[in-house]
């Protein structure tokens, strides 16, 4: 009995040893190179990514690219990256990054500094705000891959019926909602829908309201809420939209999809959302097909002009990649004009290269591209700081509290400031 046990133990030890040796050997092989690319699966008619990866392999004999899917939500993706990168297990060479993570990952030392490898004018074709969010400390850490900007969608048919032009200020928007709803007498028709659930999307919506009102979340010198009174006023205005019924009560639980569906079913006049929604509104069985147009987000009367927040994904090379040159070549391939055109055609993701917005082939499918270009150029990034997630996670419940009316906006701003002070004092 005892002998048998010992033998079994020896056998399993031997097996472990073999596995370890095998693992090492696999790491040193000189044959075909495998690049691992981490990205989120693309929703849309057809995922163009596999074909693009095969193209790269064809152009680089002896290189195999493995595309590995990331978890679904942005939060889960972030958690996946920080655990794997902090744990020093470099299981991947090229990573798709939400643009808000780039400064954080760069500061943590996880990204390869691309600055020395870039050609002098290589970044010129991209949107300046996309390049800004890929830059930290004067160095470039990623290549912009796809682009997002906040838009105001409106029901062109309804506005035309009442002889209205898309609103330039929120005050105008409120007035138009009153007029159209009074005329339509449709109880199911909401006015302006946007994202007020306690999550990242809420921060984006509040930032846009801040900017329209001349307020900021973070100043260049690191001051938090440099214009607290204006910030509180912007929050009060958003709360007012809900109280007055211009926005439905469920705005406080709405994310992108919830609000997109309400508008897409024909139950709202205005919607704040990203460019991806347009394709869905123009879909074959859409209730609002041919009735939707978009415009810049409104500003405030006697305030600033409206600006959409920008977002999107970048491609960064892991500093621990054993094939950094190949990984960068793959990033260049995927962000090339041809690849971005294929992605824009196959999936509803907007390019980061400006010339594509006047591309005849793309314009045939998406006639709104030139108009989108102007809005994208005017877009503004969320604060570019390594502490963005800390910032966002801290202000979310405070903004939400002001929106649902359990805290006066001034107190929400003050308490968010105190908490951020405690956390940031540790890292600065």
């Amino acid at each position: 009995m005892r002998v048998a046990l010992r033998r079994a133990a020896h056998r399993s030890l031997l097996l472990l040893g073999l596995l370890a040796v095998g693992g090492c050997a696999a790491g040193q092989e000189s044959g075909p190179v495998t690049l691992v690319f981490k990205y989120a699966r693309i929703l849309g008619n057809a995922d163009p990514l596999p074909a693009l990866l095969r193209q790269f392999e064809a152009a680089h004999p002896g290189v195999r690219v493995k595309g590995e899917a990331l978890p679904w939500t942005s939060d889960d993706q972030h958690q996946f990256y920080i655990i794997n990168l902090e744990g020093r297990s470099p299981g991947f060479d090229l990573m798709m990054l939400d643009c808000i993570w780039v400064p954080e990952f760069a500061r943590a030392g996880w990204l390869l500094d691309l600055t020395p490898s870039l050609q002098p004018d290589e970044l010129a074709p991209y949107f300046p705000s996309a390049v800004a969010s890929a830059t930290y400390g004067g160095r470039v850490w990623a290549l912009p891959w796809n682009f997002n900007v906040g838009l105001l969608y409106y029901r062109a048919d309804l506005l035309a019926k009442y002889g209205l032009r898309p609103p330039e200020t929120y005050e105008e928007l409120v007035e138009q909602v009153r007029r159209i709803r009074a005329g339509e007498r449709d109880r199911a028709l909401d006015g302006y829908v946007w994202q007020g659930k306690q999550y990242e999307g809420l921060v984006v919506n509040v930032l846009e309201a801040f900017w329209a009102n001349g307020a900021r979340l973070l100043a260049e010198d690191g001051t938090i809420f440099p214009e607290p009174a204006r910030a509180a006023d912007a929050l009060r205005f958003l709360r007012g939209l809900i109280v007055s019924g211009v926005s439905p009560a469920w705005t406080t639980a709405a994310d992108e999809e919830l609000s997109r569906r309400a508008f897409g079913d024909g139950h709202a006049i205005f919607l704040r959302n990203w460019p991806y929604a347009m394709d869905l509104f123009e879909g074959k069985d859409s209730a609002v097909r041919g009735k939707v147009a978009f415009a810049p987000l409104p500003g405030r009367a006697r305030g600033e002009r409206g600006v959409g927040s920008t977002g999107g994904a970048h491609l960064g090379v892991s500093r621990r990649s054993r094939h950094p040159d190949l990984a960068l070549a793959l990033a260049r391939h995927l962000t090339s004009e041809a690849a971005q055109r294929a992605i824009a055609l196959g999936a509803a993701l907007s390019p980061t290269r400006q010339t594509l917005y006047r591309d005849p082939e793309l314009m045939r499918d998406h006639p709104g591209m030139p108009q989108l270009l102007a809005l994208a150029l005017a877009g503004r990034p969320r604060p570019v700081t390594p502490y963005y997630l800390l910032l966002s996670a801290t202000v979310q419940p405070e903004f939400s509290a002001a929106l649902v009316g359990v805290k006066p906006p001034e107190r929400a701003i003050a308490e968010a400031g105190t908490r951020l002070g405690f956390f940031l004092e540790a890292v600065r």
Binding site: E104, R107, G196, Q198, P397, A401, F422, F423, V427
Partner: protein
């Protein structure tokens, strides 16, 4: 001690060693490590690592978000456990008195219990959907903003949790009911006990011990509740459904504040231990028999 006894003793120690080692490596070591982390300001990705004493705990003491999370945890635990016990016992009694369809009823109960929390939460997300949700469609003009109203969101989350975990209590109680001999009831009938007296004097006291156990399990689970509110509301609106574990998760995994997040975890740990200790004392004292 004879040689044989000593050998037995040695063998006993050898046999128990793997368990002790496993517990030590998997429970005690991480526990002590978290305690140590909670006394530091530690954010590894920004190279912050310094001893901070009770700084994190001092901040928690005056942190409104922490107290709000503590209150939410308490309300959630009391509300969901109370409802689960009452409804669970009622369901067990109802099934017990049923002559036909018992198996079907039990299978349906088990189905709800076997569903992963995240799936159940997704299901309720659709039920609570403000425009297309079944509940609001049924309510028609009186539609409720289930997950976006600070007064309604927590009860809505509690209800979803009760739906999922009430079957656990019901099935435990049902098993105990089956084990009560019929002659006890016959004797009660002979003595002229009515239905209410039978329930309060016989059935419920005999269920006591199993109910205490079920309550213990459910309370400990509810104190650490995470998935249902994380999926349904993400802690909102206004943080009204943010429990201590959700708060700890946000600090630990979303913003990587290992020191501060550990301090929140230590509080949750102490809370769970205190409650478990209270229950175990009740169980041991034999306050409830049968």
């Amino acid at each position: 001690m004879t040689g044989r006894e000593a050998a037995d003793r040695r063998r006993g120690l050898v046999c128990v060693a793997p368990t002790v080692l496993a517990l030590g490596a998997l429970t005690v070591y991480p526990g002590v490590w978290v305690l140590w982390l909670s006394l530091q300001r530690r954010i590894p990705i920004f190279d912050v690592s310094r001893f901070a004493g009770f700084e994190n705990y001092a901040f928690l003491a005056v942190d409104p978000r922490f107290w709000s999370a503590a209150r939410t945890t308490a309300v959630f635990t009391l509300g969901s456990v109370a409802l689960e016990v009452v409804l669970g016992v009622a369901a067990a009694l109802a099934i017990h008195t049923q002559r036909r369809g018992r198996r079907l009823a039990l299978s349906l109960l088990l189905l709800a219990w076997a569903m992963p929390a995240v799936v159940a939460a997704k299901l309720f997300e659709w039920l609570y959907h403000p425009a297309a949700g079944l509940i609001n469609v049924a309510l028609g003009r009186h539609a409720v903003n289930w997950l976006g109203d600070p007064l309604v969101a927590l009860p809505a989350v509690i209800f979803a949790d009760v739906w999922r975990t009430m079957p656990f209590v019901a099935i435990l109680c049902y098993a105990r009911l089956l084990a009560i001999p019929a002659d006890v009831y016959e004797a009660a009938q002979v003595d002229g006990a009515g239905r209410l007296a039978t329930l309060t004097r016989i059935t419920l006291p005999l269920l006591g011990r199993i109910l205490l156990l079920a309550t213990l399990f459910r309370t400990l689970d509810a104190l650490r509740a995470f998935d249902i509110m994380f999926v349904l509301t993400g802690g909102g609106p206004a943080g009204t459904t943010e429990t201590l574990t959700v708060y700890a998760y946000r600090a630990l995994f979303q913003t990587l504040q290992l020191g501060f997040g550990s301090a929140v975890s230590v509080v949750v740990f102490l809370l769970v231990m205190a409650v478990a200790w209270g229950y175990l004392r009740l169980l041991r004292a034999g306050a409830v028999t049968a």
